[in-house]
Subunit: 300 residues, 2 copies
């Protein structure tokens, strides 16, 4: 769910950057512009469910919601550890702000300063890898990916072999052969090939990135959420300011084999995102413009 | 206009503390919780009109909107000086945050760290004085007051003396005698007594204050905006946490001769402010509960 989709300053309808990913009841937050905690309240999402926060870069519009969100977690009696990933400087900034506002977190905050190339297991079965992007300050994109899921079970075939849905089938799905009625059943007899997990790439603010596919490390992804601050008309301005056009975003989506391209981080100059979607659609078939509180599937 | 009226954390309907006062097109902002700039956008008020910002204390919910608001002023090409008043530590905090987010303001920011007892001329004809309040950290209240306005002119009487509305009458209103048809007219013949300017007191977060009237320095004020986090049922908790009950607020309003008491900073425990208003009304005749985006007159 998008919590904010504007660039630099909030508008009447768009808040500052924030994107929350829900996986089996747990939340991962990407960027945390001012007002992110307000949007979470609006969306009915509890900050206590957030396991980790990923900041793309230390510009105010992407990070000024972080101290307040953490303090609200404390007000809501959080005791669980929190992980915060972001560029160098984020630990110092949080420390100074907490010191100035006389705040001591009642839970552990693990601040991990990234440099690109790392990968972290952030939830059971879910990993996040970090890649450098091209902005006016040190900035990173994040790839969120799930471990491959076991293949689908052919229930009919299993029944014919005398295996009813239950623990034995579960073992087979996990790759373990079982013996049924004196006959050894191998997993590949009833279980299909492992299915890839979902993959989502979030670039944060960036000019077009050379070798994006290699940086991301996948031949295809489900969803690419890409900076699309401007239309091509302002290409020069976009690149100079470390941003992309909608067309740049579409090129990245093609390179990454993205099933869905989501444009976000719109300049306040656009009253409607229609020109941006229309531009990206010249290159990629599945394009949507993010809206605050828009929910999208992460597995396509 | 109230921009935020909640305590500590935002709720679905109430943002974090912020109060903006409009005087002849200029704005003064008191407290700046996270999301204040979003509310200004909603209210259609330009951050460029803000001449000075007054922070009562350095708790996150009162100050985390400040860096973002200032950066948005810069994005909107502000060049005019900005004055920021607040407790010790506010200058350092802003400096660190701006450094971490690579932000250099393109206009002068005069940060004035207060200690109580100062008064500042903040607009033409408008002053703000500072008084210490009782919170869990160093905290100040602010009294905003206008210089006395000239008395009303008795236009009929002036006409009888041969003076038509115009420059001569203006001179008289400013206290300067004029000679009309050979007769010296003294100001007091046609101009009433000077009228007091408006006076508004904003306490920020505070437990009941001893000697409030002396600290404020006025026998009567138009509007008192007072912390009313809880009802008397939670008096002990309120005072321990450096807050007031609605009844405490009403006592302060009586002491200050406030024509209107505005309760604000409500605990999220109250779905409706009705019990708070009802409690304060036992002691003071004119009580309203602040709401986000509520506009009230400052001159009563």
């Amino acid at each position: 769910m998008f919590l904010g989709t504007s660039a630099a300053t909030p508008t009447r309808y768009r808040g500052l950057p924030g994107l929350v990913l829900k996986y089996r009841g747990s939340l991962l937050l990407f960027d945390c512009g001012e007002g992110t905690q307000h949007r979470l309240v609006e969306a009915g999402l509890s900050p206590l469910k957030i396991k980790a926060i990923f900041i793309t870069h230390l510009h105010g519009d992407h990070v000024f919601g972080l101290p307040g969100l953490i303090q609200s977690m404390a007000m809501n009696n959080r005791r669980e550890d929190l992980y915060v990933y972001g560029p160098r400087g984020i630990a110092d900034m949080l420390e100074t702000v907490f010191e100035a506002t006389k705040f001591t977190p009642p839970f552990n905050i693990h601040v991990v300063e990234v440099g690109g190339g790392e990968k972290f297991k952030v939830l059971d079965r879910v990993w996040v890898s970090v890649f450098p992007v091209r902005h006016t300050v040190e900035a990173y994109g994040y790839t969120v990916y799930e471990e491959p899921r076991p293949g689908k079970v052919d229930v009919e075939k299993a029944r014919k072999l005398g295996i009813e849905p239950g623990p034995l089938l579960g073992l087979l799905q996990r790759g373990i052969p079982v013996s049924v009625g004196g006959r050894l059943v191998r997993p590949e007899e009833v279980v299909g090939k492992p299915r890839p997990g979902f993959r989502l790439v979030y670039t944060g603010d960036t000019a077009p990135i050379d070798g994006l596919r290699k940086l991301v490390g996948f031949d295809s992804v489900d969803v690419l959420v890409h900076d699309a601050t401007f239309t091509s008309e302002y290409e020069l301005e976009a690149h100079e300011e470390g941003h992309s056009t909608a067309f740049d975003a579409a090129r990245a989506a093609v390179e990454l084999g993205a099933k869905l391209l989501v444009l976000t981080h719109f300049s306040a100059r656009y009253k409607s995102p229609e020109p941006l979607v229309s531009e990206a659609s010249r290159l990629h078939p599945n394009v949507v413009a993010a809206e605050d509180l828009l929910k999208l599937p992460i597995r396509l």
